[in-house]
């Protein structure tokens, strides 16, 4: 239990899952740390905390979430790159770590990490304040044609930003894309009308949606969402933009085979857990398990796609 306290103290915010003590085998360790670059309450954070509750028993270890914020994931990657590849620490990957690697040239990049498995993909939605004049995505775009549109993205370099830049291009408007220190920060600016729209994951905006403080205008997913059947996809509105925001895990380079095997067994088991299934379905997460052998190439292709976009739009050379 000591190790557990230790890390909880270190990060200021650590939440562990209740789990039986580690078994006698070599892996798993007593404590597995999942690092996220998201602050407490952010998208990845909520995802990880839920996952860790069910993962603990399935893996037979204490699973702890550690928030290494700052640098759009650069800090978290640096932390992972210098950690031992013994399966005791993983990074919760989202497209952010690819973006940061490509755009900011940090000390450690995605190349220094080894993708483990994928768990979910989750839909990105466009939302606006309940009191705003925009009833549809078209209203927002029409506004941006005549006046200075302000669109919010949670982080400087992120999938959300790319989606907004692509939407700008597809619609032929020039809106200012305002970056923030995370989703909560941006939500305030959407609620007070500073921003016309914000982009975020459904689960991040859920509490405001329930309180009817925001309206969801469109989703970037390929198909309509089960929980929000009235919300059109961006594609159906005539802008060919679809996002596949993956949520998986990556570790330091050189993960041993027994670690990989343990996770390839644990993740599908967790996804099949009916209790957890109810939770993630309600949160609009789509299970999308990708085993280790395929996950590396998947990430590679995502990198290639993103890199091509960034070069095409002249963001990087």
């Amino acid at each position: 239990m000591r190790g557990f306290f230790v890390i909880a103290g270190a990060l200021a915010v650590g939440i562990a899952a209740f789990a039986p003590p580690a078994t006698a085998q070599d892996y798993p360790k007593d404590t597995v740390t999942l690092v996220t670059h998201s602050s407490v309450g952010g998208g990845s954070d909520v995802f990880l905390r839920e996952l860790s509750k069910y993962l603990g028993p399935a893996l037979g270890a204490n699973v702890i979430v550690e928030n290494v914020t700052g640098g759009s994931g650069a800090n978290a990657m640096a932390r992972l790159a210098s950690a031992p590849p013994d399966g005791s620490i993983f990074y919760a990957t989202t497209p952010t770590f690819i973006y940061t690697s490509l755009l900011s040239n940090p000390e450690a990049t995605y190349k220094d990490l080894e993708p483990l498995v994928n768990v979910f993909t989750d839909p990105e939605v466009i939302y606006t304040a309940e009191g705003s004049p925009y009833k549809t995505l078209q209203d927002v775009i029409d506004h941006a044609k005549t006046a200075q549109g302000t669109w919010g993205a949670a982080n400087p370099a992120s999938l959300e930003r790319q989606l907004l830049e692509r939407l700008k291009k597809a619609a032929g408007v020039n809106a200012a894309v305002v970056t923030h220190e995370g989703g909560g920060d941006m939500m305030i600016n959407v609620l007070n009308g500073t921003l016309d729209i914000g982009v975020g994951e459904v689960q991040e905006v859920k509490s405001q949606l329930e309180a009817k403080q925001i309206r969801i205008l469109a989703t970037f997913s390929a198909e309509k969402l089960d929980t929000l059947p009235d919300v059109p996809t961006v594609k159906s509105l005539g802008y060919d933009i679809v996002a596949r925001k993956f949520r998986g895990l990556a570790g330091p380079k050189g993960l041993p085979a027994d670690v990989i095997a343990a996770w390839e067994k644990a993740i599908p088991a967790v996804l099949a857990n009916p209790e957890y299934k109810a939770v993630y379905t309600a949160a609009d997460l789509r299970p999308d398990f990708i085993p280790h052998a395929e996950y590396g190439p998947f990430i590679e292709s995502f990198v290639a796609e993103t890199e091509a976009f960034l070069k095409e739009t002249g963001v990087i050379q």
Binding site: V6, A8, A10, L103, A157, G314, V315
Partner: protein
């Protein structure tokens, strides 16, 4: 050289060095109109400017030295940190004494990974106590060790902070 002149020159040096580093900040295509190097450059220039002003003031007041009350006395606004300059005693010898304490701190940093927290912090307490003028006796050592155990209890056992365990322990 007066204190003022030294402060001014240091400020110019700092501003210059910082400016040189600000020039090396990588430009990013996602940057805004201000850019990542925008504020640093302004700060650097301000620092250099203020350094020049301070140096000029020092030189001017130095020239006026013959007049006793040249230094403007706005002591009304004085602040806790403005007066203790004179507390630093003993000139160069005083500086050397402060350097000695600093060396004890650096020594701790160098040994703590190897010998572990408890022996290192005990050594730090003993060294700093003796350095601070306590008479050499068994009490110093006893209190140093007791203090180390106390801090270990507080930080490691109660708070669960993983202070370095050291490599020595693995030799036994």
């Amino acid at each position: 050289m007066t204190r003022e002149l030294m402060g001014g020159l240091l400020a110019i040096l700092l501003g210059g060095g910082y400016f040189a580093m600000a020039l090396q900040i990588r430009a990013s295509a996602l940057a805004d109109t201000v850019g990542p190097a925008g504020l640093p450059k302004v700060l650097a220039l301000l620092m250099i400017f203020l350094g020049l002003v301070l140096s000029a003031q020092a030189l001017l007041s130095g020239r006026r030295k013959s007049r006793p009350a040249a230094e403007p006395a706005s002591a009304a606004d004085a602040d806790a940190d403005a007066d203790p300059g004179d507390e630093i005693q003993g000139g160069l010898a005083g500086l050397a004494r402060a350097g000695g304490l600093l060396a004890i701190g650096i020594g701790y940093l160098l040994i703590v990974r190897t010998v572990g927290y408890v022996p290192a912090i005990a050594a730090l307490i003993v060294a700093a106590t003796l350095y601070g003028g306590a008479a050499l006796s068994w009490r110093v050592f006893a209190i140093g060790i007791a203090g180390a155990v106390l801090y270990y209890t507080l930080f490691v056992l109660m708070l669960g902070i993983p202070l370095p365990a050291g490599h020595l322990i693995s030799l036994f």
